[in-house]
């Protein structure tokens, strides 16, 4: 049985402006994360992946659908009823400097979840646990007594991971945990996350806009676009034989350092399409406006997420037309 299950989850928000409409940030999303599994969730800014993470954590209400944790519904719990669950469901945030209270030391911040979630502990015991976790993520005691602005991004993000782990959760939502860091530090944090996941047998949802990072870490990958899941499946398939044109676009966008990278860049420059605006139609495929393979049918009819060949899921009317996966541009 899956540890975490989402069925038909929809989150709406009011579009700011004169004609306030309700837009779907997350649109009928279904996914499942099993024990000890790290599921990758990829998509660009605004695709709803962060909102999805917050919905799982009970921070935003659902407009439709359900979130089930260990088989029980958790999306309809009030703030207070949700609190005991926070021992099991934790989060690592994107910008470490923003998610630490500037007026508390790192050790105090890391120990804070224990105050609410493990009330039996005395202050000394809390501090001990916090220091233990910090050492587990590679931060020494001297850094623990400092203030957030005195630590580098990489160090502070380690502290963020320690804070998520201090209550010994079963599931961690990692919301773009490396996007705000230098590339040279990203690798260390990714390795740390993998080590911790394996060591503690954690399940987790790894959210990012960079497919290369996600693919490194996660055996299964889910691709989101404009609130909808467009493709989901094992990493090898997604990366090796992508069926959805957006997945193909994400793969092509990963910067390459191989010999062919330059040629690809120049080809992309030569074939460049003009930048697209927002403005998705409610009917039809959300990606149709920028899809090089779009048909009239795509604009009129929304493709359902259905099982494709080889066990994955894809939401594209034309998925059957390229059995070996879409080849990289610009050969298309």
């Amino acid at each position: 049985m899956s540890l975490l299950e989402l069925r038909g989850v929809t989150v709406r928000y009011r579009q700011p402006g004169a004609k306030a409409r309700m837009l779907a940030a997350v649109d009928s999303v279904q996914l499942a994360v099993g024990e000890r599994e790290m599921l990758g969730l990829v998509g660009e800014s605004g695709c709803g992946k962060t909102t999805l993470g917050r919905a799982i954590l009970g921070l935003v209400p659902l407009a439709a659908g359900e979130v089930r944790w260990r088989g029980q519904r958790i999306d309809d719990l009030g703030r207070r009823a949700f609190r005991p669950l926070r021992r099991e469901l934790q989060c690592v945030f994107q910008d470490p400097h923003a998610c630490f209270d500037p007026r508390m030391t790192v050790a105090e911040s890391v120990a804070e979840p224990l105050r609410a979630l493990e009330r039996g502990l005395a202050a000394a015991a809390r501090e001990r646990r916090a220091i233990e976790r910090l050492e587990e993520v590679g931060l020494g005691r001297e850094l623990a007594e400092r203030y957030p602005h005195q630590l580098s991004g990489g160090q502070l993000q380690r502290a963020g991971i320690a804070r998520a782990l201090v209550v010994d959760p079963a599931f961690v939502v990692c919301d773009e945990p490396v996007s705000a860091l230098d590339v040279s530090v990203q690798g260390q944090i990714v390795e740390l996350l993998e080590r911790i996941r394996a060591g503690r047998g954690l399940a987790s949802l790894f959210i990012s806009h960079n497919l290369a990072v996600v693919a490194r870490l996660c055996a299964r990958v889910t691709v989101m676009y404009r609130g909808r899941i467009v493709e989901a499946g094992p990493r090898g398939q997604i990366v090796g034989q992508p069926l959805h044109p957006y997945t193909r676009e994400l793969l092509d966008a990963v910067p390459g350092i191989d010999a062919g990278a330059r040629a690809r860049l120049l080809a992309r420059a030569a074939n460049a399409r003009p930048a697209r605006d927002t403005g998705a139609g409610a009917d039809g495929c959300a990606y149709a406006a920028r899809c090089p393979h779009a048909l009239a049918r795509c604009r009129a009819e929304r493709p359902p997420l259905r099982p494709g060949p080889d066990g994955r899921q894809v939401a594209c009317h034309r998925a059957e037309e390229w059995p070996g996966g879409l080849p990289p541009a610009p050969a298309v």
């Binding site: 230098d182 590339v183 497919l211 090796g240 966008a253 910067p255 460049a272």
Partner: protein
């Protein structure tokens, strides 16, 4: 002739704890060349660029020499003079560094075009449209009337590029131009940079912490660490095997899809 010749450039910041951000850097940029400076946060790479165009913070001081087309840039006392009159364009990491939030995009572009080429209002507006088309922003005429906050991050960065191009610079400085953008948008902006440099015959000096960004774009790669320049190598040679172990570690850190298919 070397377009930009930097010799012994040093940048110091005074204050409670004095810091030497750039330590004796020598660098050359040839016309129409793309040179990328790669390094982590705090390596001094951004300060190097800012020093050349006189945009250092008030407590910063630059020593040494930076000659653009033979003219000395440092110590002239006139902030951003290099950018205004001398053929250097600047693109910041965050487009809000270039764009004024309360003025329409068309006005901002036209103003620069007028100042640079002495055009009248009508000609400046036409030039603004041309610039927006050059950066491949669709519906250019409509964009002229929009404000920066009405555009997405990637589009704002294109407008910032257009602004930088308006004065037809011979050298474009870009300080982490894609760091704040998604991978898909980043790829487009990089491709755009490549084609614009060719189209306008510009040299590009690009600063970034991400080697992946420059691998496809740069002719030469320079590695900075702790204010010092460690190595400057032609791009293909660097990607095959950097001389310096630090450069090698930066290369190894780039997340790629190799081996995952």
């Amino acid at each position: 002739m070397t377009l930009l010749a930097i010799r012994g450039l040093t940048v110091d910041f005074s204050g409670a704890r004095p810091v030497r951000a750039v330590d004796g850097v020598d660098l050359d940029v040839a016309p129409r060349e793309c040179l990328a400076i790669v390094g982590e946060s705090g390596s001094g790479k951004s300060q190097l660029l800012l020093a050349c165009v006189g945009l250092l913070a008030a407590n910063g001081r630059a020593d040494g020499s930076a000659r653009f087309e033979g003219v000395e840039l440092l110590g002239t006392g006139d902030r951003a003079a290099a950018v205004r009159g001398r053929g250097i364009g600047f693109v910041f990491q965050d487009a809000s560094g270039s764009l004024t939030p309360h003025r329409r995009i068309g006005d901002q572009l036209a103003e620069v075009a007028q100042a640079a080429h002495g055009l009248d209002r009508l000609a400046a507006r036409a030039e603004a449209v041309r610039l927006l088309e050059a950066v491949r922003l669709p519906e250019a005429a409509r964009r002229l009337r929009q404000y920066p906050h009405e555009l997405s991050g990637g589009m704002r960065q294109r407008v910032a590029l257009a602004l930088a191009l308006a004065a037809r610079p011979r050298l474009l400085f870009a300080d982490e131009p894609t760091t704040a953008l998604d991978v898909t948008v980043q790829a487009e902006i990089l491709a755009l940079l490549a084609s614009l440099c060719r189209e306008f015959g510009m040299a590009l000096l690009l600063v970034t912490h991400d080697l992946g960004v420059v691998a496809s774009l740069a002719d030469r790669i320079a590695v900075m660490r702790g204010g010092r320049l460690l190595e400057t190598t032609a791009s293909p040679a660097f990607l095959a095997g950097p001389r310096d172990p630090y450069g090698a570690s930066l290369l190894a850190a780039v997340p790629t899809l190799a081996g995952l298919r």
